[in-house]
Symmetry: C2
Subunit: 348 residues, 2 copies
DNA sequence: ACGATCTGTACCAGATGCGAC
DNA sequence: AGTCGCATCTGGTACAGATCG
């Protein structure tokens, strides 16, 4: 008697009774199957409306083994890029009448990843989307027998999964090209962590663009995306003293660029007079840094939508050509400029 | 024959057969019910492991009418605070063996909110979590017959729903107190949008703290959380000319503080020498702004966990005392300092 | 006779193949 | 042939009854 009065929801049988048909005729109407007389369909639909009937997804999922749910796995913290992509993906999915079940994890340990996948699988998700920065995340999932398609954000394009991506490589080349075009010849790279596919692609682009121009690549510094790591390397670089062995830095993301600039200016260098800095991502804050940061804008919104688009194509079993990767766009602001006058031979 | 070989998952009957018991006994061990001989339990567990059996949530949900799923609604863009909270909430939920079905929307129009709620309800979620900045979001949901508990992040505490919050009011007072303690008497406020509950609470805190100290409150500027709006107001303020009518600004969030500082310094003012600025949130970038931003840190991680904690309590039907709101913590960096020398009467 | 242990069967709310009009 | 209904199935849980020491 405690909760017996719990809103008893109408079932397909209630609808059938009210409409004066059998329950499977109702089922036909629900699923838009043929062979239902228009008049009958009308009656059923009226009954459905009258009872405010909604089919039970549980019962439906049980028998169809399909849930109209997509599993979404994300790894990493609340960064602007992934967060945007998630939001837009989610909205697109809802518009396509898919529910999305989310499993996020701060760290991407293989074990937790695997258990997240299993959790989703157990929910009968029809597909899995993986938005993970770490290469290891893809590897960890590789081994699992999924049974459903998986779409990953994978700029390396070598995961074997269906993938969507932003062309990090071309973005990086464009960034370096911008610097080189300004006259810089000694362009360092402050890279993201080695386990990040995006970071690797950007390193590759940086290296190739330098090579294509006959410029030498100094050993890249590898940070962890955080402003703190940018600050650390900036401080280390500044210790070189008054004359630096470079005139420009291509930072792997805007946060590291921020930390870097902060360290540099803290040591008496001026950006961009003494050194130019270009970032990557174009987070909303970048335009208001001091100086406003030149950076490569990534269209995360479209990325999110593209993920769903790809997913739908895969689910529809189309031999999806795949969405071509977008190319980041150069946003020129005030942190880049021509290099300082050719430095005179460094005295003792 | 196309997909008949689709990984046939083991059912409770398969386990029963392998263990030599009835499926019902298997159900008992699954649900930790008594009256199962230890030896039998062992056999069943071995069979479960051998078949890698996992109960079907669909079947279970069908009969129990419980889905072990929580619906999560978020509104707004990919901001640091909400994103963090979502991530931590999600992880906590998974640890509590709850799935979370997400419905995010960039804008919080009543219609889309309502349809999101219905979508989740149809999925038989056991509860709904609402992480929305806009007051209107709560109002829109008020009218809906939910049938399940709803926990909202609501710093106003007047929504009628179960709520979790960070004490924006006390945070704001602490921010103003910091400024006042430094000797400032003319403290302006750059507020968040009027439809944000947090923004309103901060305005209230700012006003009350000023009043408590016998200081006058100049009309607050209301921005939209974006650095651009901060920049806009900063520019406007700077137009006042060499002598400003204030010595400190309490910004509603770090982004607006960033834009504000950028505008001020662009017009020849120095922070904190000429004007002190304090932000709110402590986003990861704040420590590397120029100058590093003094701000009020909000513990979004704990907020996310508290949401789940509260939800669990509500679901357990406890007369939840509720988690007491956390108080933001003052983080003193370099954007605040004592006010400039008492300004001499302004000449013509 | 009786409590611990286990089994049989009904049931949740739909989808679907086959047969009947 | 076009409409519609009956029976059966999905994979679990719940409750009553059977078995055994």
């Amino acid at each position: 008697m405690t909760d017996d009065y719990k809103a008893r929801v109408a079932t397909i049988f209630d609808v059938a009774r009210l409409a004066g048909v059998s329950h499977q005729t109702v089922s036909r109407v629900l699923n838009d199957l043929p062979n239902v007389r228009p008049a009958t369909r009308q009656r059923v639909e009226k009954a459905i409306a009258a009872l405010n009937y909604r089919p039970s997804p549980a019962a439906r999922a049980l028998v169809t083994r399909r849930s109209r749910t997509i599993g979404l796995i994300t790894t990493g913290g609340p960064d602007y890029g992934p967060s945007s992509a998630v939001l837009h993906f989610n909205e697109a999915a809802r518009n396509a009448r898919y529910a999305v079940s989310m499993a996020s994890m701060l760290k991407s340990e293989p074990d937790s990843l695997r258990s997240a996948v299993e959790l989703l699988l157990r929910q009968n998700v029809e597909a899995i989307v993986l938005i993970a920065a770490h290469r290891g995340a893809l590897d960890a999932v590789q081994g699992i027998e999924l049974g459903v398609p998986l779409v990953a954000v994978d700029s390396s394009g070598r995961s074997g999964f269906h993938s969507v991506a932003i062309d990090q490589y071309r973005g990086a080349r464009a960034a370096v090209a911008h610097l080189a075009g300004l006259g810089h010849t000694r362009i360092r790279h402050l890279a993201g962590p080695a386990d990040s596919m995006d970071a690797l692609e950007r390193v590759r682009g940086w290296r190739d663009e330098l090579a294509a121009r006959g410029l030498v690549a100094l050993e890249p510094m590898v940070g962890d995306w955080s402003p703190a790591s940018g600050f650390g390397f900036g401080t280390a670089l500044a210790q070189q003293g008054a004359s630096l062995d470079f005139t420009a830095v291509f930072a792997g993301n805007d946060q590291m660029a921020l930390g870097l600039v902060h360290a540099l200016t803290g040591h008496g260098f001026t950006v961009p007079r003494d050194v130019s800095v270009i970032g990557f991502d174009d987070i909303p804050e970048s335009a208001y840094f001091a100086p406003p940061l030149t950076t490569m804008r990534q269209d995360f919104d479209s990325l999110g939508r593209d993920i769903l688009f790809t997913l739908l194509a895969v689910l529809a079993d189309e031999d999806s050509p795949g969405v071509p990767p977008m190319v980041p766009e150069l946003v020129i602001r005030s942190s880049t400029a021509p290099p300082p006058r050719p430095s005179l031979p460094t005295g003792g």
